[in-house]
Amino acid sequence: MSSNTIALTELPASRPLALRLHEWVTTVDHKRLGILYILFALVFLAVGGVEATIMRLQLIGPHKDLVSPEVFNRMFTMHGTTMIFFVAMPLVFGFANYLVPLMIGARDMAFPRLNAFSFWMSALGGIFLYFSFLGGDGLYGAGSAPDVGWFAYAPLTSKTFSLGHSTDYWTLSLLSSGIGSIGTAINIITTILCLRCPGMTLGKMPLLVWLNLVMAALVILAVSPLSAAQIMLLIDRYLGAHFFDTQAGGSAVVWMHFFWIFGHPEVYVLVLPAFGFASEIIPVFSRKAMFGYPVMVLATIAIGFIGMSVWAHHMFTVGMSAGANTFFVLSTMAIAVPTGIKIFNWMATMWGGKIRFDVPMMFCVAFLFQFLVAGLTGVTLAVAPFDWQLGNSYYVVAHFHYVIVGGILFTAFGAFYYWFPKVYGKMLNETLGILHFWLFFIGFHLTFDFMHIPGLLGMPRRIYTYEPGRGWDTWNLIVTVGVAFQAAGILFFACNLIWSYLRGKTSGNDPWDAWTLEWSISSPPPVYNYAVVPVVRSRRPLWDLKHPEDPDWRYE
């Protein structure tokens, strides 16, 4: 396109809106696609938050009837599906898209058109899933939002028990976004292996790049089984097949195996990039190199491998043999070792440093505390007999929200505050950022700390109401109150994004005095990224430039 060949960072604002929108819709530029993914994720974050709020208001006390059981069951299904597939995954892919080529000194991703195709397939999935709400009720389930839970266990998803098309909206929208995910993963791997700038061996890549590489490998190995299982489900529902038809000898447990072979690595897909954000932010704000880079890489690869072998810890209660249960206890606990090593290495990075508590670092420090707790509750759940009590209860719900919100979302917020200046050339407002942090922190802890307790007191998940007299009432009330604080925090965040986009303080190239390649170019970067292909000699090329008397490559 002719207007893209002009080597300017900003085009005149007087171009007609239609033309600018058209550029965005047809873009193959990794930076624009990254922003599209992230905007998409933020919209669905709000939607998923509304769904959560409806559920929490329904559960604020026993026997409430704010919504019917049918609507509640759609809420928890849509909340889970939305947050995983249309918030967390797009956030991960958006940041990977924007940052990876910049951090390896490349001009774009390896396959820009595949990149655009992948984004739009994911977007299509999200839009299609929400179209299900418009499907209309009619005969219950005949064309309405899915209500089978985000893991859609068989045989509830068979034609017998799920009449109508709600399950099909779930299946087809995730097949579409699955294609998008696999396309993006192919792109990320190829970019990292084939487009690194001269001198950047695999051992000299920023840790964020390593973590995204392993994440992409997991996507390829894990999302494909989900797609396979979903094709089987479609064949069951429409061609009369019997994969999960228990009356014909099919097995509901086979669906569980196939789903969790996807489902468990999926959570590592989400958390590894979060580790990447922490691994870039913590060193810069501690003013120290990452402690134990090679060990961090090995730990990441170990998590990737072990993560493929733990899936049946989601199935401890289905009646597997004692031997099988015992194996999955061991593999699940094993993965705590490399994960713990990472926490220690981040702490060691901060040790002896000069920690600056700017907003990105506040979010990452909170992440460290919270991820520690989340990992430890995970260890308790790995103990299969304990899981026989805690599984499918609110203890599990508290655990995984602690990881995803307390771990992943917190580091993602940190990443927003850290890289927003690079993307837009303006700082996010610090006061609004501090308010965002504290409000969300309070709300997160009110909701998810106390949510463990109903689980310990016997409250199962996915219930639209509960009985009084079981000791669950007060805790559920506190959990719901936390939602208000989280909503307020998100509101401040949204305001900060908009305000700073319009009126933020100019940031310059390198507002944080950081050390990776992206900070060497202008903010926002030129459309071609690097006018001269960089050549690097160490893991922190800008440290070498800023400290020519004491460069990293002498010590690595």
């Binding site: 960072t9 390896a110 396959f111 696999i182 993963a185 192919i186 792109n187 791997i189 190829t190 970019t191 292996l193 084939c194 487009l195 690194r196 001269p198 001198g199 390829i220 190995l221 894990a222 999302v223 494909s224 089984p225 797609s227 396979a228 299982a229 094709i231 089987m232 064949i235 061609l239 009369g240 097949a241 019997h242 994969f243 014909a248 000898g249 099919g250 097995s251 086979v254 196939f258 072979i261 060497s520 170019i521 202008s522 030129p526 690097y530 006018a531 001269v532 960089p534 050549v535 690097v536 000699r537 090329p541 800008l542 070498d544 430039l545």
Partner: protein, 198 residues
């Protein structure tokens, strides 16, 4: 606006990274292999578990001839690529078209087998677990063969409209990786369906 210059170390760098076409195709192959693995696992798990209906040993006959055709097509595509790297375009085209023909014969064989199974033996995807797993696994493979054939046909169209040149050899090598993958999958499917499962 331009990059901060980062110093070149002494001596020139010998910086060679793998080709992105190859790496991308390996990743695609890995993803497809994962999908096939799930269908193969389902097939193996459900062996002998059909409650009613025809059983494999009653109705399956190993398609030896069609298998040989498909495996031979891996050889012919390899030869075609050797020809084009040497610039022998017409020789390339003959071997390329032979590859398509052999792939087409394989698909014809599958269609013939299915016709016999459905109309003579009464085995459909909904008959029993064997029908379900058989048609989905073999069908998934046939779908991948079809996609591959469409790609190969597209290349021949480019040849006949004289747009194909010797410099495209590397891209065709990447495409041939996919074709070899489809053949390897057939070896696995054949073994599982016609040898182990019977």
């Amino acid at each position: 606006m331009s990059a901060v210059p980062i110093g070149l170390p002494e001596g020139s760098l010998n910086w060679r990274l793998p080709s992105k076409g190859r790496v991308g195709m390996w990743c695609l192959i890995a993803a497809e292999a994962a999908i096939f693995t799930i269908f193969v696992v389902a097939y193996i798990f459900y062996i002998g578990k059909s409650i009613t209906g025809p059983q494999p040993k009653d109705v399956l006959h190993p398609p030896i001839f069609y298998t040989v055709c498909l495996l031979a097509s891996s050889l012919t595509i390899h030869i075609a690529l050797r020809r084009i790297t040497l610039g022998k375009m017409w020789a390339f085209a003959r071997w390329w078209l032979l590859t398509i023909l052999l792939g087409g014969i394989f698909l014809f064989g599958t269609a013939r087998e299915w016709n016999q199974l459905i109309f003579r033996q009464g085995l459909t995807i909904s008959t029993n677990l064997f029908g379900t797993t058989y048609y989905s696994l073999v069908g998934l493979h046939a779908f991948h063969v079809t996609m591959g054939l469409l790609a190969l046909l597209t290349v021949s169209i480019f040849y006949f409209t004289t747009r194909l040149r010797r410099e495209h050899a590397e891209r065709l090598e990447v495409l041939s990786m996919y074709w070899h993958f489809v053949d390897v999958v057939w070896v696995v499917v054949f073994t599982v369906v016609y040898v182990i499962g019977v």
